[in-house]
């Protein structure tokens, strides 16, 4: 079976005054119909990976790869016009903060209808119908009222659900969620995750879930990629996360305070220079 998305030796570089900076340094993975978690600290290149897949790395940043394929089509450095056809309709992205990703001067209804009609065509009435359906699918009560409201009139959790509704309206094959729940309260978080989980399962989508929260990813995803300094240092089945072998993964796990296991001092991650460049043990349960 061909994977939904196949990435080999992806690199993202930025020229700086100090020479070329590599934000992503040769990563390879395949995405099937699964929930794939990407975990790492800030600056590890996890968001940049998501942006590179969607062709959102702005010049002077450069994306190179051996190949990057969506199904059997290459999507590496496609011209903007062709990328626009893919973005949204085949691959969608949910960003971290709904406050910044919704247009503040358009009603929510108009935004969802616009997103839908752009990709699926159809009249305004059909678009409106679809928008209502999508809002119901993300469990928004009273969707008629929400359609007419502006983004500042809804809460953060609702905003994020609206973003998810908008991104899922054109039925994409892949959803990239970049820290979709970091800006939300814990109780709302569970709700948003449940909705994403159900939609991904029902529609057979591939999900790339980018997060810094190891435990959350372990509980939510099927497979986890651990990134450090622009490389994947370890790939694990989510249920095996607590048997992680790489010292970086172990360090990250240990530095979390836990309610059920109190300690006096938290172990601090001792970074080693060798993690940046050391030859990686290839350990890929369940393929790449």
């Amino acid at each position: 079976m061909t994977p939904l998305l196949s990435v080999r030796d992806l690199r993202v570089t930025f020229p700086t005054r100090q020479g070329i900076f590599e934000a992503v340094r040769g990563i390879s993975f395949d995405l099937g119909r699964e929930r794939l978690g990407v975990v790492g600290e800030s600056g590890s290149g996890k968001s940049m990976t998501g942006r590179a897949i969607l062709g959102l790395v702005r010049p002077p940043g450069r994306v190179t790869a051996e190949h990057m394929r969506l199904g059997d089509q290459s999507i590496l450095n496609l011209p903007e016009r062709r990328m626009r056809k893919i973005r949204g309709s085949r691959i969608s992205m949910v960003m971290q903060d709904p406050k910044f990703s919704l247009n503040p001067v358009m009603t929510i209804g108009d935004q969802i209808i616009e997103a839908y009609r752009l990709h699926a065509g159809g009249g305004k009435t059909a678009g409106r119908q679809k928008a209502l359906e999508m809002l119901q699918a993300v469990q928004i009560r009273d969707p008629e009222r929400v359609l007419k409201s502006y983004p500042h009139e809804v809460s953060g959790g609702m905003g994020q659900r609206i973003m998810i509704a908008m991104m899922l309206a054109p039925d994409p094959e892949i959803l990239i969620a970049d820290e979709p729940t970091s800006a939300l309260d814990v109780s709302v978080r569970t709700e948003v995750l449940n909705i994403m989980d159900r939609l991904v399962r029902d529609r057979g989508m591939g999900l790339i879930f980018i997060s810094h929260d190891l435990n959350l990813v372990a509980q939510f995803c099927d497979r986890v990629l651990i990134m450090y300094a622009g490389r994947i240092v370890e790939t694990l089945a989510a249920k095996d996360l607590h048997n992680a072998r790489h010292p970086y993964t172990q360090g990250l796990l240990n530095s979390l305070p836990r309610l059920d296991a109190p300690v006096d001092r938290l172990p601090v991650l001792q970074r080693q220079e060798s993690w940046r460049d050391a030859e990686l043990e290839t350990y890929f349960p369940g393929g790449l």
């Binding site: 814990v186 109780s187 979390l256 938290l266």
Partner: protein, 250 residues
């Protein structure tokens, strides 16, 4: 150390008045670490800001180290007793002031002498070497900035630190460093902390007692053992504890 009684905080005027905190009462003993937890909009940060004198519209009584405070005016003695550390180290440091300028200004405002030696000592206390003294915020990582913010709060040699989500903008590995630093400083200087956080595991790690807030009210005050056992008197507390333990597939 700190006594808060029947605290009401509101914003705006009728008919648009919003009551952010409604009759909150709690006391914090000297040397204790007290947590305030709740979701966004529950009023936990607002309580801290009212104590620190950043909000003029409140009623009730606030006593810090036995002295009552009023309105939003605080005298110099107050700031020698209590200092605040803010959530976002990217926003709470002036981008064009060097670490040296930040710390020496605070020291001078507190009327301290021997500024040069004190700055070296402060930087050492928060685990930054002398090499950081003349850097600007953009030359520091998030964790280092938060250390500078903590050094600034310590400059006045306070006895009470008000911590508003001190680690929520940081990576987990850096969070561990800052939490350890705060524990060490508490022991060395005999500090009292009031810590606001939405992360129950952080509060569980740091605090002795905590208050759970919802919609501006304190629902209950519990000790940390009860939190660990997942025992809340209120449904909301138990719900909060359950959802902070992680995600269970529905």
């Amino acid at each position: 150390m700190l006594r808060v009684e029947n605290l009401d905080v509101w914003f705006g005027f009728p008919p648009d008045r919003v009551d952010a905190v409604k009759s909150a009462s709690f006391t914090v003993a000297t040397g204790e670490t007290f947590g305030l937890v709740g979701e966004s909009g529950s009023g936990k940060s607002t309580i801290l800001r009212a104590i620190a004198g950043l909000i003029p519209s409140w009623s009730g009584s606030i006593e810090v180290a036995g002295k009552a405070v009023t309105g939003s005016h605080r005298d110099r003695a107050f700031y020698k007793t209590a200092q605040m550390v803010f959530q976002d180290p990217y926003a709470s440091l002036h981008p064009r002031h060097s670490v040296d300028a930040v710390l020496s200004e605070t020291l001078r405002l507190q009327g301290m002498g021997d500024i040069d030696r004190r700055i070296t000592k402060l930087l050492e206390d928060v685990g930054l070497g002398r090499g950081f003294r003349f850097r600007y915020p953009h030359q520091l990582s998030g964790g280092q900035r938060q250390r500078v913010a903590i050094a600034r709060a310590l400059a006045a040699e306070p006895r009470l630190l008000l911590l508003d989500e001190p680690t929520s903008a940081l990576d987990v590995s850096v969070q561990a460093e800052i939490l350890n630093l705060l524990s060490d400083l508490r022991q060395e200087h005999g500090l009292t902390y009031v810590m606001v956080s939405h992360d129950l595991s952080v509060v569980g790690h740091m605090c002795d007692r905590l208050a759970v807030m919802q919609h501006g009210r304190i629902l209950e005050v519990m000790d940390v053992d009860a939190l660990r056992r997942g025992e809340g008197q209120q449904d909301y507390t138990r719900h909060l504890i359950a959802s902070s333990l992680g995600y269970q597939r529905a």
